[in-house]
Symmetry: C2
């Protein structure tokens, strides 16, 4: 068992992430606050809204504010900021006043539909909002040591615990959008109060029980459950008890938040059947339903999963929040078992499908992350699928989600255990770890993800015996390892190089992970990618933007024998490694008026350039493709 080294003990100073985190602090977090203010999300907490006024509160508005508060708390924990703190405290004061005498706290059901609390757990996000507020309160407590917000949320949680459960007069409900489960475990960890863990267990265990709560609740509302708009309880992962679920189904963010809650409960209770369910669901997601960018959930219809290997590129939904949830879940799995399968997926999502969600400037966002984009496919009335990032969304879950993830990035890099320190991500930084009852500083130097040379320096006060675990990424075909300059093979345990020794101050480990440009193929059942390759170098997946090649990206062909070069471009987004070479493209010059004919396409050479997927759409390009035809 491992624990993440928390953000206040990790100091990132690399060239890749540090500028993004600074942008997050200086641009993203303030602008999300402004958007929340403009859109009425903050005023809603004053409970002054009346019918006929603008900015009618929405059932999930608190979750946006809560995620912003969580991001702000992380930011304050690593860097004091008086203005940010004042804003956060003002929100806490609003929430404190908005809390009802019985502990209930939700603007929508207080001012828009008073008296209708808990009448539609399936669709209305009340407990989901409560979960995000709890996460924010715990983050605030951890950042400041103050219990003001935490106490508010404990009162709310206690009220929720009185309403829901298997006791007489209690509702046997649970939330249509999981989140409260993982939040309650977090609250348990922060307060030590086991009733919150019990509550999380109840929500996990009750899910999918028969008779189905959402059906009974619909009948109570006077609705026909058969006319459920989402058509299936798989949408909310309540089609079956969680321990009987073998396939990841339904809304992707809901699914992965639920799996996070399952892992959290399993970790605290040691429940093997929950762990086994998580294992099966992990295989379903990562072996059958994952985009190469770490995107999850191909369909916009249910914002989620469809059938195995169904991974269309141009219509990929791959919501930013789902990739973020993938980081959350794999991070939890890593604390349970230090296995590179989980670290690899955390890395894949972070460097690709998560980071694509926010612009280099930090002020615009993708909600949907397709792997192919053609200008004419963008429908002007589609609020989410755009060739360019947007400042805000009606459903604005993604911007504050990415803000809180980036503001807490430090915690994803290292884990500590009884006699172990694990390095999951290669980010130049240092971490103050606690291992074998001692403080050990681990310093990491690297130019990752552009270079695969990593130096770890152990700065222990004196000889401390522990196992230093370094993730050997799945994409690495070989490795060179030296301890204090002396080559060693080391043991590979679950994909981590395990270096057990008595570490002395100044001991170094040099890890070299060669980063050739790889042509990645998808499983042949992935129809969308058959006959195509994606280019990957290290953890970074590349894409082609039409601005760089001057021909339609869909007409490109990569000859099997053509060679590519990685070029570090200092001027591009403050330093980015691109892939250069020569490709071919099908010319249409001689086709003119024919749509079909029996002659093969004429191919002409074309200079080729690919850029990292996470930076796409930051220039004026409108066409993009990750998967390219190979000839």
């Amino acid at each position: 068992m491992f624990s993440a080294v928390p953000i206040d003990r990790v100091f990132i100073d690399d060239q890749f992430w540090a500028p993004r985190l600074e942008t997050n602090r200086r641009v993203t977090i303030p602008m999300i606050y402004e958007r929340c203010q403009e859109s009425g999300r903050i005023d809603a907490l004053r409970l002054h809204w009346k019918e006929g006024q603008p900015n009618k509160p929405h059932v999930f508005w608190e979750s946006d504010v809560a995620k912003w508060m969580e991001a702000a708390a992380y930011s304050l924990r690593t860097k004091p900021d008086a203005e940010l703190e004042a804003r956060l405290e003002e929100l806490i004061s609003l929430l404190t006043k908005a809390q009802q005498p019985d502990g209930y706290l939700n603007a929508y059901y207080t001012v828009v539909e008073p008296g209708r609390r808990w009448t539609n757990l399936r669709d209305k996000h009340e407990l989901y909002c409560a979960g995000h507020l709890i996460e924010a309160a715990v983050a605030h407590f951890e950042a400041t040591g103050q219990r003001s917000f935490l106490n508010v949320m404990c009162r709310y949680a206690d009220y929720v615990a009185a309403v829901f459960g298997r006791g007489t007069g209690q509702k046997r409900g649970y939330c249509g959008h999981p989140e409260i489960e993982l939040a309650l475990v977090r609250l348990f960890r922060a307060t030590g109060e086991s009733r919150y863990l019990k509550m999380a267990e109840y929500f996990i265990n009750e899910r999918g029980a028969k008779p189905h709560y959402f059906d009974e609740e619909a009948i109570a509302r006077g609705e026909d459950p058969a006319k459920y708009w989402a058509k299936t309880h798989a949408y909310t992962q309540s089609h079956a008890p969680v321990r009987e679920q073998n396939r990841a189904v339904g809304h992707a963010v809901r699914a992965l938040y639920l799996y996070c809650g399952m892992m959290d409960v399993a970790r605290e209770t040691g429940d093997k059947s929950l762990l086994e369910a998580c294992g099966r669901l992990w295989e379903s997601v990562y072996q059958k339903q994952l985009y190469v960018t770490g995107g999850i959930g191909p369909s916009r219809e249910n914002e989620g999963f469809t059938h195995d290997y169904d991974l269309p590129n141009d219509t990929a939904y791959a919501e930013t929040c789902a990739a973020i949830a993938s980081v959350f879940w794999n991070h939890r799995l890593l604390q349970w078992r230090c296995d590179s399968r989980f670290g690899d997926e955390m890395e894949r999502a972070l460097y690709n499908g998560v980071l694509s969600g926010v612009s280099m400037e930090g002020d615009t966002f993708f909600y949907v992350n397709p792997l192919e984009m053609h200008a004419e496919e963008v429908k002007p009335d589609d609020p989410y699928l755009k060739a360019h990032r947007m400042e805000w969304f009606g459903c604005a879950c993604c911007p504050p989600n990415i803000a809180r993830l980036l503001a807490s990035l430090g915690q994803y890099i290292y884990s500590e255990g009884e006699r172990d320190v694990a390095v999951h991500l290669y980010v130049q930084s240092h971490a103050d770890c606690r291992v074998a009852g001692r403080h050990v500083r681990i310093r990491q130097e690297s130019e990752y993800p552009w270079k695969g040379r990593i130096r770890i320096t152990v700065e222990a006060q004196s000889g401390v015996e522990f196992c230093l675990r370094l993730r050997i990424p799945g994409w690495a075909r070989s490795r060179d390892v030296a301890v204090n300059g002396k080559p060693t093979n080391g043991n590979l345990e679950n994909g981590y190089l395990a270096l057990r020794r008595k570490w002395e101050r100044g001991d170094t480990v040099d890890l070299i992970l060669p980063m050739p440009i790889e042509r990645v193929r998808a499983h042949p059942n992935v129809r969308a990618d058959f006959g195509r390759v994606a280019l990957q170098r290290g953890p970074v997946v590349y894409c082609v933007e039409s601005i760089d090649v001057g021909v339609p990206v869909s007409s490109l062909v990569l000859p099997r024998q053509s060679e590519f070069l990685a070029v570090y471009e200092k001027q591009l987004f403050g330093g980015t490694t691109t892939i250069r070479g020569e490709a071919a493209h099908a010319t249409d010059g001689d086709w003119e008026r024919e749509l079909y004919r029996a002659d093969a396409h004429a191919l002409a050479p074309v200079p080729f350039k690919a850029v990292p997927y996470p930076v796409w759409g930051n220039r004026s390009a409108t066409e993009m493709a990750v998967w390219l035809r190979e000839s």
Copy 2:
């Protein structure tokens, strides 16, 4: 200028079509009558329906009955059938009684929404239904010489002419679903009454005028025109006056029915600007928006056109009715100019995207004709996209449409002009033509589409001088022609071999069109087909069904050098030429738990077989693909 040789002067006795036409007569036409009866479409004409009763009449039900009546009339014209005649006469009697004192005839607005006539021309199909009834009445008149039905429809048309027009007190409307235009020209030709032609001209010319009739009509209904569900008047091709239209847009069947009406009016009036518009629209459809199967209209959202070269295969809508409309339009173009471009498209649609619409047994139908089908993509609640043909549809336009087309197939084969006889389709048959004031019988022998050897025998009473025009299909790379056994080159005029001479009884023309198996490529802008080939032999496009290859069709690869053989299989659907050979497929045996990796796919050889696209889905197969990856 040419005229089609009508169905009562053409006698088909080939091996390919004759059995299908017999099935149409014996199975399809009777079963559509039964479906119309069961579903209440016939009872609706009795005008007995009252609120609360089942089978509430629908606004376009008359069109289904009318198309059935038209099919029945064609069938009676070529083969008497007392029972069929009795059913047809009973329907005529019902319609006669259903006609209102002022001539109006529509069950929905008589019993469901009385007093609301002509309040929603945009959506409600009243004039569309009138058009189909007129077509049926003309077909009945031509089949029987009786004016009973024709008179009913003339009364209705006269009433329509009083309601609509530019005169004082008239409505300046037109129908959201074109059909009345072509029907009125047909009525003009049958009756000689030029007021019907004038009326057709009015509907064509008024379309798209500003202020927009559909907007004004919506306002009159108390609706906000900006909230039009289809979002754009392009859906009904009324976004601009027809002479200003350059791209085919909107609902595909509506578009092509309109273009038919435009051609009909242009032919009668010699209006050059209409002809020019038709020419531009033809190029838009056939050079930019056509499936290789003759399917038209890729999107289910508008049942129609999207943007140029957008031709996805698995989500192709390609409604059977749109391919049928393509036959109608090209047939009209052919009478105006004997050009193989039009004959080729008529042939492509007929042998592929039209014929796929009905099962070999004649009792089930496709509404949607995708070029790729995977079992898991069929959604159980999608009423139209199925891996197998259906007995009927809620919107049942396709079954009676294909029935009326097949029942009148004879008229598409030959045209006659002042001094010309043209052969558009190679179907073993004979036709009694009128040319140069004389009767000439043209006899055609062939095993088309399986063999490209055609013998034409001219059976004139004595020497008649005329030009025999034989279409040289666009797919033919070469040809051999002999007149009375003597090789000749002949002149090619607009793609037709023009043989001018004084023909004597027994003169023969032998035409040989070699039919190698061709690998067809799509224009490189068609992203869905890039890197893929379709197999075509003669006019027939082939597809692979999983039942024949034993591996997922999407894993197939056709090596560039692999050779294929055409094999005539006597047992398959009563005789079908299939394509055999060897292909490769990507094996998934060694992939097991990986979704992405850097190694190329392992390919294994697999016996290959492709069947004609029109017969797909007639066995137990669920997977199908037209476009196959080439390596």
